[in-house]
Symmetry: C3
Subunit: 218 residues, 3 copies
């Protein structure tokens, strides 16, 4: 299994850190939307696990990995409790949260692409599933919160592009037979670096031609 | 199969009553949103069948049970017709609808948890799937209607908690080897009772710490 | 396989034309919502492939057909590029787009119903899946764009009904053992014709009884 890129224990620790951070972003949105503790928990779970669950359903790996080990369920609940009590502090350390979120983005696009390949999907489909793994949870979070997905908005720094780059590098490495713990880590770091640069310099993607000067309708 | 808790005929009657009631709630929201007869039918179907379909997709029981017997499709259509002609009357007997909805909540969290266990899931995942079975249709209803899900709102009486209690009791009964028609009924009645008390006394869950006095942003 | 109604090459060409057109509608909505090029691409992909992906997940045909051949992924990207540069022109030839969209609707309700039957589903479930194949992508498009689904709105011309008629004809043909390339084409043309008539004469479905004169709340 190429998706078992890293030592299993290291992989699990990385997964759980990524899940915890994604859950924090779901919980913080729930607080901003004035939801109750259960709303915080639901958005934390959906944000943290949603991308991987969609990937697993699409490749036929059911029940999804998130349902196989209860630690994957309990980690977002821990994040929900942290947000419930400490949301002003968590929001204040926004820079740290965004840095860790970028790390989760890098990790999940790599492992998502590799897992899709393991299940027999081609390069393009594996890249798409890597991106879904990394960014799908955030889209579910925003849809549940009745917001236009942050991923789609032109006024937010690039999010899909770093995942695309990370996933494409992994697909290239697989095609060349060179995916291993070292190269996989480098791919994750590339996605991480692009995301951090996009945040730092507020890189955005262009809107449709002839439209960039118009005001947002929404 | 522990999910075959009850006599099959009784189980089917209970399922169909629950589906009919859930479909009424979907149809009534469609009327409030001023949708046409097809919008009423789509929301009725999605609300009534959505939770069970998600559960079945996640545990790999495809095609979902709702697609295996056409009576499951036709029942929400019947509810849509009732809402189309009689919506003022249905809305007026709101208390009866909410009582029956609470009964559906109790029934579906029990059968959902038991079915997930039958498919090999652990306790925590089975509880999560019981809650998804009971409450998932309502979330799909609200997302399709472009509303913040009622389940997540702090200003609505508890809905997730009764399902959680019912599902957790069933998981405990399974772990102890004591799930049968009697104990399963008691678990459903516990969820039902908590939901009815929450409605009667307007029990709500707390919002994030230090925030309870702020106005809803939404 | 009754779903292999047509010559495989013809079928693929028809599929890709339908996918391209559906992707245009997703891309145009993204432009109206002022999304960036990645938002355009995501909505194009989701609109074009969403209905078929849901159908395949529900019948257990995973990974979905859309993930098996990269041409299905690349076609919506081509549509996204067209929309990005030429959206005023594409919007101006709205009548052509709606005509082709109606053709896609007819094609996909026929192939969706036939594929569901191939996977062992009954008549009612196959009809439902034909409608989901044809109309599901548009619902996903609108949910992602945070809009009330066009399919559900009373103030839009009939969309579900043409798909229902086409799917029901196919289910009848299958039951009578008479589904072939000719009759399947006729079913698709029936759905196409009804949709075109609905657009031409602005056919709408009734809203709930005693409500038709009230203003839309939304």
């Amino acid at each position: 299994m190429t998706s078992q890129l890293f030592d299993p224990h290291l992989q699990e620790v990385l997964d759980l850190v990524g899940i915890f951070i994604f859950a924090l972003s779901g919980g913080l949105l729930a607080v901003r939307k004035n939801l109750d503790i259960f709303g915080i928990a639901v958005l934390a779970e959906a944000t943290a696990l949603g991308g991987g669950v969609i990937r697993d359903v699409l490749i036929g790996a059911v029940p999804p990995a998130a349902f196989a080990d209860q630690i994957y369920f309990l980690t977002p609940l821990a994040a929900a409790v942290v947000v419930f009590f400490l949301h002003p502090e968590v929001a204040r350390i926004n820079w740290s949260v965004q840095t860790l979120d970028a790390a989760g983005l890098g990790l999940f696009c790599v492992t998502g692409t590799a897992k899709a390949h393991d299940y027999g999907l081609g390069s393009v489909a594996s890249i798409a599933l890597g991106m879904i793994t990394a960014a799908g949870g955030g889209v579910i979070r925003d849809v549940l919160a009745n917001e236009l997905p942050s991923l789609l908005r032109w006024d937010r720094a690039l999010y899909a592009v770093p995942a695309l780059v990370g996933s494409a590098i992994v697909a290239g490495l697989i095609a060349g037979g060179r995916l291993n713990a070292t190269t996989g880590t480098l791919a994750a770091m590339a996605a991480f670096a692009i995301r951090m640069l996009a945040l730092r310099y507020d890189w955005r993607a262009p809107r449709a031609w002839q439209r960039s000067s118009s005001r947002a309708e929404e």
